[in-house]
């Protein structure tokens, strides 16, 4: 755990130093804390600091949301997008892009995205019912996310001009470029609330390992737990999508990585998963700055491209382990 926290700090500083103008950690710290080189100060404080804060907050949020979803569903393949919150946030954001609202109202897109994520929870519970079983919730979640996906495609289809369609497509790829402190102020409070909510429920995931009846008999309010976790995941991923677009696979991969380090206990996994998510997203965001390419690689694309083979590898390893465990 201290190693993870140290890594988080290290990559945070690296993230402030990486880019077209390279700064050493000493220069970064100087720029942060003492008025000196004005150019370095502006680069670090106004360009790179918001980006690094968002990477930590969003990566951490995605890692925590993934670990919480896996704990709730008792399944290592669960992912924060399962109940459709990020997709709904993306749909709401894309609608503001199509309507051009983001140009008239600068905060229109992020606010719409967060509202979209919350609307998905309302829709989910309306379809599945408040005390629905997990299976029903998963089916309803599938319907909500498919609907949001279809809506997003429709919004692109109806985009007023090719430029708007391209803007939508690029936005959907997920990026932390050119984010300001305003984005930080918009997203981070929601993310903090979501994190507090999920961490406060964390204890119950261990009891849930025994199934819902046993957990209920141990005093876990299973129905309320489900709703709170769905709400926390929606709020946190919605706020993430609001300022960074869609960034996939971190929620899935971070808990997997940490399971190998801290063991399978779903409660003990929460904090390490959050830290691992933060490290992964910062790493990806530093990488997109360093990879020489004719056009910018978006961080969401990178997490997917690295995440997918990695995920396959994990499944293969899991398969071997499971096969061995049964023998």
């Amino acid at each position: 755990m201290p190693v993870l926290a140290g890594l988080t700090l290290l990559f945070f500083l690296a993230s402030l130093g990486a880019g077209p103008v390279r700064l050493s950690p000493a220069e970064v710290i100087a720029a942060l804390f003492s008025p000196g080189d004005e150019a370095a100060r502006i680069i670090v404080l106004e360009i790179r600091l918001p980006r690094a804060i968002l990477a930590v907050a969003i990566g951490g949020m995605l890692g925590l949301a993934g670990a919480s979803m896996q704990g709730l569903l008792r399944n290592p393949l669960a992912d924060p997008s399962l109940f459709g919150a990020p997709q709904s946030a993306a749909l709401a954001a894309v609608m503001t892009l199509t309507l051009g609202l983001n140009h008239t109202l600068s905060w229109g897109l992020p606010v719409a995205a967060i509202l979209g994520a919350l609307a998905s929870v309302a829709l989910l519970l309306a379809v599945a019912g408040r005390s629905a079983s997990l299976l029903l919730l998963i089916l309803a979640g599938l319907a909500v996310s498919s609907m949001a996906g279809a809506g997003t495609v429709l919004a692109m289809n109806l985009a007023p001009n090719p430029f708007a369609a391209l803007e939508i497509a690029f936005w959907l790829l997920g990026s932390l470029e050119d984010r300001s402190m305003r984005h930080v102020m918009l997203a981070v409070p929601f993310i903090v609330v979501a994190m507090v909510l999920l961490f406060s429920q964390g204890k119950a995931f261990r009891a849930l390992s025994l199934g819902e009846d046993a957990a209920e008999s141990l005093g876990v309010p299973v129905t309320r737990l489900r709703i709170l976790v769905i709400l926390g995941v929606a709020l946190g991923t919605g706020a993430s999508v609001a300022v960074a677009g869609t960034i996939s696979f971190i929620g899935l991969v971070a808990p997997h990585l940490m399971r190998a380090v801290v063991g399978p206990d779903p409660t003990r996994l929460l904090l390490p998963s959050a830290l691992a998510g933060a490290v992964l997203l910062m790493l990806a965001d530093i990488a997109v700055r360093l990879i020489p390419a004719s056009s910018d690689i978006k961080v969401g694309v990178l997490t997917s491209i690295i995440g997918v083979p990695f995920f396959l590898l994990l499944i293969l390893r899991e398969r071997r382990r499971l096969a061995g465990g049964l023998a």
Binding site: A207, S209, S217, G219, D265, T267, G325
Partner: protein
Amino acid sequence: MTAPSRSMLNLHDVSVSLGGRSILQHVSLSLEKGRFVVLIGPNGAGKTTLLRAMAGLVAATGEVMVDGAPLTTLTRQKRAQKIAYLPQGHQVHWPLSARDVVALGRFPHGLADPENLSPEHAAIIAAAMERTGTTALAARNVQSLSGGERARVMLARVLAVDAPILLADEPTASLDPHHQLAVMHDLQTEARRGTLVIAVTHDIGLAARLADEVILIADGRLAAMGPPAAVFTPERLAEIYRIRAVHQEMAGETLLVPWETVP
């Protein structure tokens, strides 16, 4: 049957409907502490539903009283401390160590982190594993245990709750004879320590031999209740189970063996 004030668990006119279908009808019964009670009945009779109603896991009409207090007035935590419940199937969804699983029994008593145990929690967990003969399995991954070993680890988990009422749903299902006997024996021992133990089983033979009391459920109703000899009459076995059983007394114990089906 109104409650004697000393009864540990008292059901008054309890009915349960699920999805508009009546599963359990007008069950009233009263059970004392320290009894080993076996809940028995044909498939689909409502045994699991009755057990879940006793545990407060399913919405029921009528009244369930635990140690003199209505179940619905207890807080979740109080209820969890009073009633330990072992569901069917003995499933564990993560490859936790046996000891971590048993430690979950301390959850209602505020245990947050099984890696950081107070001496009191540690002693209760160790005792529960000792009594079920699972101490040697402590560090093993529960998912890699045999069915019998896992059943006994799960039994240790409910014993660790240290509740005055222990409900176990088919704790011996699909176990070999050794583990069936071991689990039933452990449950009987727990009852002798003062706990009210209620276990669902299909094994009429073990019920007749070991139970202090048998609750026979048929078609969602209480068909009979009392000492095994009074409940397992040839007429009831024929009517409710549609079997004829061989009945012998041996070394002061009852031997009841299902023998043949009757139409």
